[in-house]
């Protein structure tokens, strides 16, 4: 005889779509909302995006093939946020050319000279300044940083969610953090 107390997350096979949705998507709505908020920059938009993304997730629930449900949902949220922004706020969408410009600018020699604050200084930054500095990051850097340092996804999950190679995740993350550190160190 085998007695095993059942967990909240049982095997997903054999469940109907609603039950799967409840187990895969609903536990992560807060994370979805946070990511949408960082990507759209606005709470009302974030709600719309999460609702839209949840519907997409529900329709695609049978395609969920294991792995982390949270990173699966977050990648749907991310894609939904971009299509939502393209439709409703085309000016806010960063084009590939913009990104290239950013990367060129970043690659200039003399980049990040001087004013990088040290760890002790970083520890003193208040929440408001931090939030503004994250919000000011170019989108590809911001989403990478948010997925890693706020949502705790690993590099592989971020690469899958943002559809870039791991090497790109690494360089975006290093640049995002460097920019963030420099900008929170300024205007003190």
């Amino acid at each position: 005889m085998r007695l095993v107390a059942t967990g909240a997350q049982d095997s997903l096979s054999g469940l109907d779509d609603n039950a799967r949705f409840r187990q895969i998507v609903l536990p992560h709505i807060d994370d979805a909302y946070r990511l949408a908020n960082w990507l759209t920059g606005n709470r009302a938009d974030a709600e719309d995006v999460v609702q839209d993304a949840s519907l997409r997730a529900f329709r695609a629930i049978r395609e969920f093939a294991g792995g982390s449900p949270r990173s699966w949902l977050l990648s749907i949220v991310r894609n939904t946020a971009y299509s939502w922004l393209r439709k409703n706020r085309p000016a806010a969408v960063v084009t590939v050319e913009d990104l290239e410009a950013v990367e060129l600018e970043q690659a200039k020699p003399g980049d990040s000279n001087g004013d990088t604050p040290e760890a002790a200084l970083i520890a003193k930054v208040d929440a408001d300044r931090l939030r503004r500095a994250i919000a000011a990051l170019p989108t590809p850097f911001r989403e990478t940083l948010v997925l890693r340092d706020i949502e705790g996804l690993d590099y592989r999950e971020i690469a899958d969610a943002t559809e870039v190679p791991i090497g790109t995740v690494m360089s975006r993350l290093a640049r995002a953090r460097r920019r963030l550190i420099e900008s929170i160190g300024k205007d003190r």
Binding site: L3, L130, D149, Y155, L180, I181
Partner: protein, 254 residues
Amino acid sequence: MTRSRPDDKAVLLVHAYVDGELDPANALGIAQQMSAEPALTAECERVKALQRLIQERLPRDKAPAGLHARIEASVGGIKWPRMQPSWRALAASIALTAMVASGSTWLMVGPQQQTMVADALVSDHIRALMAAEPVDVASSNRHTVKPWFNGRIPSSPRVVDLAKQDFPLVGGRIDVVGQTPVSTLVYRHAKHLISLTAMPAKSLFDLDRSPRSVNGYNVLHWIENGVSYWAISDLAAKELENFARLFRTSQTEL
């Protein structure tokens, strides 16, 4: 002093090191490089300071109250009961798991190994909470705890000191998953204990890495450097995640 550019390979490796994304060989390499180059050490400290800042100071927004309900309504209008285990259910499950735990051996079969590993470890955690001592070796000194595992299991686990981050080490014990002895470290946070089990990563057990809750205990699972980690506690999920992050980002002194 020349400042390193953010896309230098060494800088990228420092970031990946802090994120726990390096295999042991690369981690060792970059640790050595850091000890030779103060600029890299400073980068490492900055990244850690930034992560701490984000974890500790940035408020983690919750979705607005009505959003869950609207989403539930939009996918079919079914009202699902909230999954909150009642005290009665919890008490019953403790009795049940204690009974199971006292049995001799059990087999792991079927497609539910992942859930069963979590269940087994939660049982071990509960049993430890109910025992006189939650650990077999009680010490807050990682230099005492780590060697204790030598000779008891094939490889002793990574032990880090998180006392300064308010997660002091309580000690260690051997748990058994299936029929395999595995190492479990116990950390404390306020009045909560955290059992952190390390076992060799096997694809069989490591399909699903989502946080879960078993009978009200939060379970976090991650894989790092070929080791599968399971953290179990009645801490809030957010705090358990914070613990996991601290454990993953803390440097092991070499």
